[in-house]
């Protein structure tokens, strides 16, 4: 599932990521696009809470992709 939250600032990128992880319950990966640096440190703590792993990638100037993968799928 892709989630484009560019233009949104805290806390909405985090709230939307949590909402997606809650809805998917580990059945799918969440790929989140953001241009808001602070959420690079607010989303990872939530990933662990809902059984997801996270990976942050800088994709451009003030542009990041956060990939949230269900833990089971990585084993």
């Amino acid at each position: 599932m892709e989630l484009d939250v560019r233009g949104e600032i805290c806390p909405y990128p985090m709230l939307k990521a949590v909402e997606a992880m809650k809805k998917l319950k580990g059945t799918d990966t969440v790929i989140l696009f953001t241009d808001h640096a602070p959420c690079l440190s607010t989303i990872p703590p939530q990933a662990g809470r809902y059984g997801y792993t996270f990976q942050v990638e800088e994709t451009g100037q003030a542009d990041w992709t956060i990939t949230l993968k269900p833990k089971e799928a990585t084993i």
């Binding site: 233009g7 600032i9 805290c10 909405y12 690079l40 440190s41």
Partner: protein
Amino acid sequence: MLASRTVKNFCSFKRNIPRQSMVAGLVLLGALGLATTMAKTDAILAPLWLLAMAAGFTLQRSRFCFASAFRDLFLFGSGQVMKGIIAGLAVSTIGFAIIMYGMVPSPGFEIFPSEAHILPVGLSTIVGGLLFGFGMVLAGGCVSGSLYRMAEGYVASWVTMGGILIGLALLSQTWNWWWEATISQEARLWIPSTFNLGYGGAVLLTLAALLTVFLIVLWWEARSGLFNPDIQDEKGPDDTFQQKLSILWRSIFVRGWSAVVGGSVLGVIGILMYMVHMPLGVTGELARFSNTIMISLHLPPPEALGLSALGGCSALLGAAGLFTHSFAVTVGVIAGSLVGALFANEFKLRFPRSAKRYVQALVGGVIMGYGSGLAIGCTLGAMFSSIPSLSVSGWVFGLSLSGGAFLGVKVIKRLA
């Protein structure tokens, strides 16, 4: 042959430097030029301007957000930023005490060190704090947060700043009502003299209170079951001198700093600013700016009763001219943050995609602006510079902020 190689080397050197870093260098040069111009008006302006730039740079680098410090506690039990604020306050408290001791060695009744942020305590502090806390959460940033995000290219923060100016204007039109109703009867409580504790006792009491808040934050985090993962560090080769230098450069200018580092550095900058002249605060200049706009719109605010004697962010309202102390501090924060954002290659115009966010930014700004006028300061002036001034007002304002932020969180959850 040699010349062509030098040119080629130079070109590849130029290509390796991001364009934003070059702009950052230009801004820095311009800022230094402005510092020398300001020094001609008043010598003290140059160090104030440079320290304010350092503060803006620090805010940007550590993404130091007072709004998130309060909001995230209630939203998902994270105290990361709050711990940064506590660290900064502890550092400042010790430095401020030494500076104030130099001015007023034996604290007595109604004698306050000059420029200390010892503000009236009462209903105005509580209402101001509640409004400010609610507004900053709704807008997604406090006054200083909006200042540094303006420089990062967040268009919503420009809207919020407009709201803050409107809120400050509404407050100065209604100040005299608040003055008659409550502020004129409110006392400025200074821990060293009011509680007869002297500097030693007041500093110990303040540090003990900060430790207590820190422990409460830890307990709160544990209770909410927050999982703090290690954000992976960059793993790159660091064998050669050049690689080591590049890692050092990146950790200062590119990767964000932790909140505790940011808060502590901000605390040190606050001490240096007070040593030069006055603690950190940005509301005074914004209020002056808002008054100037009202006067040009032929809606001058009535003369504010009692305000000039209250200190803190109110003291500079009467100053005239462009290059005032508060101009250097407020605009310096924006300039420093711009330099930080450019070096990190993070400057970008960012437009919210829904109209709802613009409304939030504006309404939150108005509420926050009104609250900051009433409490005579924002999270910087009325709290971050007030608690280290050993003033009771900083604590009451901080507590009221928490209440306002709690209510704000209830509202913003529905606006997702």
